[in-house]
Symmetry: C2
């Protein structure tokens, strides 16, 4: 049986997994993100127990993805203490002489959803994946390739028209205040209401405010990249919220370009339990092996 490795490198944990050719997870482990030495050491130890042909890595960032850069494979100027300038691909490459794919966490998820859509006979060639959790990020696959000119996308930090009932909130992004992340990420619940997101009743009007902003994010990527679907993952988003996002989108967008039915266009991930990036990594590892 051919095996592939997945490393989903997050700010709180590294999820490592082993998958087969059909992208089925055969084994999985979660390693806490402490220091680069300790965490990557445990990652290497884990993969030493398995015989993988290639490894896909989807990482928190910002990361260097330009193959021409001497810093290719690095996490670069992340705010995460101790992780600035960490040569992730270098460490894994030194331990395992196999092909390695390297992209952002949201790109990994985008690719997983793209592959799963294809396997589900949706026959799509493009999608955008947003994660809305502690932070907000977005990645896009267009014609089967990741979008991004001189670097990877950072879709979570664009500005939006403010909701009339939310004009006083300054936003929570340390860089931009009221950018998309500063208006809809998990910590905005406590910043707006004084209570944690998981304790806010789903009937609270704050979800209408969030939907207004997320609908504008969908409009941005719709008009700028024209994807065939926009997928929302992350702890903040559930189907109830997406119902509101679709309503707001319909109102704000005014059917400006032809789109699939909105319940298919603005959706939750096809892959359950935050597994999109793991499947994406398996597929990217295999793609890397075939190149």
């Amino acid at each position: 049986m051919r095996l592939f490795g997945s490393i989903e490198a997050g700010g709180t944990k590294f999820i490592c997994a082993i998958g087969d050719e059909d992208y089925r997870v055969k084994d999985q482990v979660s390693i806490p993100t402490t220091t680069p030495e300790e965490t990557l050491g445990k990652v290497v130890e884990y993969f030493k127990q398995h015989d993988v042909e290639a490894i896909g890595i989807a990482s928190f960032g910002p990361i260097e993805i330009r193959k021409s850069s001497p810093k290719y494979g690095y996490i670069t100027k992340t705010p995460k203490p101790g992780w600035q300038d960490t040569d992730v691909v270098g460490v894994i490459k030194e331990a395992f002489n196999v092909p390695i794919s390297w992209t952002t966490d949201v790109n990994g998820s985008a690719y997983g959803e793209y592959i799963m859509s294809t396997l589900s006979n949706e026959k799509i060639e493009s999608l955008v994946y947003y994660t809305v959790g502690t932070g907000v990020g977005g990645g896009a696959v267009i014609d089967g390739e990741f979008l991004g000119g001189m670097g990877h996308t950072e879709m979570g930090h664009t500005y939006l028209r403010r909701h009339p009932d939310d004009l006083e909130f300054p936003g929570s992004c340390p860089f931009h205040g009221d950018c998309l992340e500063g208006l809809v990420a998990g910590p905005t619940f406590e910043a707006r209401l004084g209570i944690k997101g998981e304790n806010v009743p789903r009937t609270d009007p704050v979800f209408d405010v969030l939907a207004y902003y997320l609908a504008q994010a969908v409009i941005q990527v719709t008009l700028i990249t024209r994807p065939e679907k926009v997928v929302f993952g992350g702890s903040v988003v559930d189907e109830d919220l997406l119902v509101k996002v679709r309503q707001q989108f319909k109102e704000l967008f005014d059917d400006y370009v032809e789109l699939p039915p909105l319940e298919k266009y603005i959706t939750r991930p096809l892959i359950a339990n935050n597994g999109s990036a793991t499947l994406g990594n398996f597929a990217l590892a295999l793609k890397q092996l075939n190149e």
Copy 2:
């Protein structure tokens, strides 16, 4: 001498041109946009006098660009009277059995600027081109190809954070009110100030308002597509305005991702006199011929 044709199909005029292999304009004519029969008839008549190997067309829209569609080559649901469902490529193809490229007007300009940047030894692989005139549009070239999943981009209609001194203005877009086009296109001068744009002194504070919005547009395409430069054409934009756009961008963006120096990143077209689309069409015609 090898010759190529360019058709820049606009809502008020069709600019037809003949170019050589070095993309030099050998001849050019402007045909008023009246009915499809009359205008396309004159276009055909013009090219009958020249022996072109391929023709590039950059058109007002919306247009159908999916090769798999039976409507490929059509202007589709344009508000321009008489031009809905017009088979532009079909008419030209029937008259001249040569390869024909087909894209949007802004994509044609984006491609012209991309080629000229390459010829100028900038060695870039990506850029975004915005036109800000009667309307607002944007096109992108990423890794030498046009951006767009299920259709062409329509970058002029995203929403933006409103400028604190401009909250009363409802915007002039018939579809969206205060989207980018509704806030910065040429007709907004008269809508805001009661005088035509060309009569507004360049010291008027309205240009700070415009710069605030255009800076946000640059932020959107920077984070969503990561281009190597953002070019502004169209009658509303001059270098004075771009100085303001760069200032606003710097303040709003907070150096969030690494970029070229802003005076190189946010720029006017390299090609003078609105010639970007014509050069782009020549290059796209040649590319089509080589495919």
